[in-house]
């Protein structure tokens, strides 16, 4: 191992995060190389300064004050816990739908400890983006709905998606009306669809993790003699509903 390679690994070496072989190679190089040894010593010194400084800062704090302040609140906290969780979930939903600003790096402004079992690392962030995308898509569908009358086509019916069952029992409701998009559905699945309705779904609630067997319940379908087909893709948190309007299709034929 040369200095350049060692330099790349020195941080992970110092943190003890290298695998066995790399650890050994880095250690052998560092013990023989003054420059790398000095680099490592600098990191040790920074660590020592931090520890000493913070230890000094807390040295004379009376730790018994912590329990003294916590203890009286526990009775109350225990009895209110479930209600608080519901409130926390609600505020998260509100935050999601209203687009509450989040911190630059994806930290929750108010972390709900009950959601700890959510998937760690970037997976959770991805889901948040997916959901945000879903909400944006839903908004665009609604916008399209408002534009339909201007295009000379009056909405004649609608599909109301009542709820989406997930393992967390969360639900969201999105109402759609007829959208004219002749020829194709927005999902490139199957044959061309005469009338396409795309329903972007936002699954809300704790951790935004969809169940693998997602179900979408349709509360009502107000399209007489129409065939409804549905496609749900949990991976992108999207459900697409096709309404095959037989009357119109027959007219075109």
């Amino acid at each position: 191992m040369n200095c350049r390679e060692a330099e790349r690994l020195i941080e992970t070496f110092y943190d003890g995060e290298l695998d066995g072989r790399s650890m050994r190679d880095a250690a052998m190089h560092i013990t023989r190389c003054k420059r790398c040894e000095a680099e490592l010593a600098q990191r040790e010194r920074v660590q020592e300064l931090l520890s000493r400084t913070i230890e000094h800062e807390i040295a004379d704090i009376d730790l018994s004050r912590i329990w003294a302040a916590v203890e009286p609140t526990l009775e109350d906290a225990g009895s209110r816990s479930s209600g608080l969780r519901v409130a926390a979930a609600s505020s998260r939903v509100g935050g999601l739908l209203l687009g509450r600003a989040r911190s630059g790096d994806g930290q929750d402004e108010s972390f709900d400890p009950a959601s700890w079992d959510a998937p760690p690392s970037h997976a959770r962030g991805l889901w948040r983006w997916t959901v945000a995308g879903g909400v944006a898509l839903a908004a665009s569908v609604l916008l399209a709905v408002t534009l339909v009358p201007q295009l000379g086509e009056t909405p004649q019916g609608g599909v109301r998606v009542a709820s989406e069952k997930t393992d967390l029992g969360s639900s969201a409701t999105t109402e759609v009306a007829r959208v004219s998009s002749p020829g194709t559905g927005s999902a490139s699945r199957g044959a061309p669809v005469p009338e396409a309705f795309e329903v972007a779904r936002a699954s809300v609630g704790r951790a935004v993790r969809p169940a693998s067997n997602k179900q979408v319940q349709v509360e009502s379908v107000n399209f007489p003699r129409s065939a409804v087909s549905m496609w749900s893709e949990p991976a992108s948190d999207t459900t697409v509903i096709w309404i095959d309007d037989e009357e119109q299709a027959a007219g075109r034929r």
Partner: protein, 195 residues
Amino acid sequence: MSVERTDWDLVRLAGGGDKEAFRELVERYQRRVLAVVMGMLHDREAALEVTQETFIKAFRSIGRFKGDASFYTWVYRIAVNLAIDHQRREWRRPLADSTRTSGNDGQTEDLLDRIGDEDPRGDPFEATKDSELRARVLAAIDELTPDHKAVILLRELEGLSYEEISRVMQCSKGTVMSRLHYARKKLQARLKEFV
């Protein structure tokens, strides 16, 4: 001879409402949590308040803690989030309401004032040198963003692994590594005359 109960034993008991079990958990981790929060806030009273709030919040949710992570990483996450929230609130506060003066210089002065109050039994020259050094260290930490602060403190003070830090911070291991690298470089540069 009594066998020391594991964190998980205590968590289960506390989940059932056993306050003594929860007290044992608090006593086990209060110092470590306080150290991290202190490193982030540099204000004793605020650090105490955030630490207290951390444990209150932990107790409220302990029934749902499934033990798929260490209790302490879970508690750290609560603490770090509360500390970051606290810091943001402080930053948003109008300057007139705050004890802050302008920019970082004011903070450094505050820190110098606070840590200049040394133990009179020691060598005054050494004490002054030490207090100046600590002021510089605290000022250097203060220049980091809250996320960088949290990562470096969890690593250097508490010795958490990259994986544990990624769980606390809800980010990938790669992000932990890059934040750590950046924070160390910045601290090394700011403290170069001492390292």
